[in-house]
Amino acid sequence: MNSFVAGYIPLFDLYCLHVGLALSQYIVLRVGVFSLATAAFAGIGAYTAGILAVDLGMHPVIGVIAGTATGMAAAIFLSIPLARLRGVYQAIATVAFIQICLSLNIYSENLTGGAMGLNNIPKTVGTLTLFIFAALATYLIWSLEKGRIGRAFNTIRQDEAVAASLGISIRKHQMLAFAISGALAGLFGGLEAYHSYAIDPKQFGFHLLITILSYVIFGGRNSVIGPLVGAAFLIILPELARPLAENRMVIYGIMLILVINYMPKGVADTAIDALKARKLKARGAASS
């Protein structure tokens, strides 16, 4: 039994890391910004943390804090030009940002190790730490969602003109969402660096972007459960279908296509909506 559990621990670690990144992606979509920059922020956080530990021998706590701060700073910086763009143009700009980070990373070989990546990072982060941070991140997003900020985010996403007419500052809230997104991505990037001994530039490129975005699209974009469910499905299901492990990406693709077509709101949101509708219907039947 123990060995059975132990076999799945790396998977659980991956899940915790990716939940953090999925929440980072989720929070910007929530406020109506089509930013895909989470992968870049995660890279910035990971490299900051990694370099501090390897080159300067800093304590991991300082490394993780620095990773979070640099991820957040990069996000706030990026939010300024992005405020002038909308929709797919934001997506293009942020993909470009990921490419810029990737290139800078490869060119500054002295600092980052270039294409070889950064190696020999002391492993200081275990499963428990990852789980605690994933839980904290989930709590943060959940509490934000049910309060004043969540309501403002919802309004901006659905109709910016209405939001402005009700006194909600669009720029301020989008910048806040960006700051949270960048901080979360930087944090989990830093944790990843301290968890996996080595990081390389490609890890934070286009492939990560697609993976993270799929979690949110698969799970749902309107409630915090969405990214949790999406990450769980997309990490665990291909694993259960071990005999097809070679074709992991094929399964991934098929699942995404099915969900996008039949549950465009995502698995979790569709389920939540169905429950709500059922409750209303039951009440309507009771009162009539």
């Binding site: 943060l140 900020i149 919802n154 659905q158 003109a161 402005a164 007419s165 009700l166 006194g167 806040l176």
Partner: protein, 254 residues
Amino acid sequence: MTALQLTNLSKSFGGVIASEAVNIEVPAGKIIGLIGPNGAGKTTIVNLITGMLPVSGGTIHVGETDITHAPAHEICRAGLARTFQNTRLLSEASVLDNVMIGLHRHETSSTFAALLGLPSAGRETQELRTQSMELLDRFGLTEFADYPAGGLSYGHQRKVEMARAVATDPDFILLDEPIAGMNDVESDALADIFRGVAKDGKGVLLIEHNVRFVAKLCSYVYVLDSGRLISEGAPDHVLNEPLVISAYLGGDDA
């Protein structure tokens, strides 16, 4: 006495003049009408007041506050609310949530408290919920509170939008064609609501092209044509003016 005051308001798009030296005053507690045929520039005036379009000349004041060049979200904070020509509710959200968001400008819990889900933020949410339910009750919408706003009938959606505007607790409300596409029963119900709002001491600027509705409701009417005010005064007086009649019916020989 405070008023919503447009002074010499002008707007031109390149060479095209959309509004020229428009002077309108909406005193508190009154319903003022702004009418005009299609293309007269009513919507331009709305967009200028609400900060959707930059003003070319003249000033807009809410009471003492100059909002001529204020960004859209600060205009609401100055005490001016609006409804939209085509109702714009958050259709995915419940009716209750739609009204609650109108109370946004009165929320005081800090960003930090909201982020961490501290008790103060939770209490505030509860308070807003209570206030919103009271408003829904006033507008006769209590039974729809939990339904998605997009599923309501057109008349009810208008009411929800009105409740949301009132929720911001403005000094002035701008109504952009509020009864377009409504039957008489629905529009009469809305008229009662508008009168109630004015009775509470709020100034209402009603932009409409249903002349009958305006005449019934407003104490003072401005008539706009080709971006200029061509007449103003009590409804009975204004609607009998030859200039107004010809603007609506087209040409001198009509």
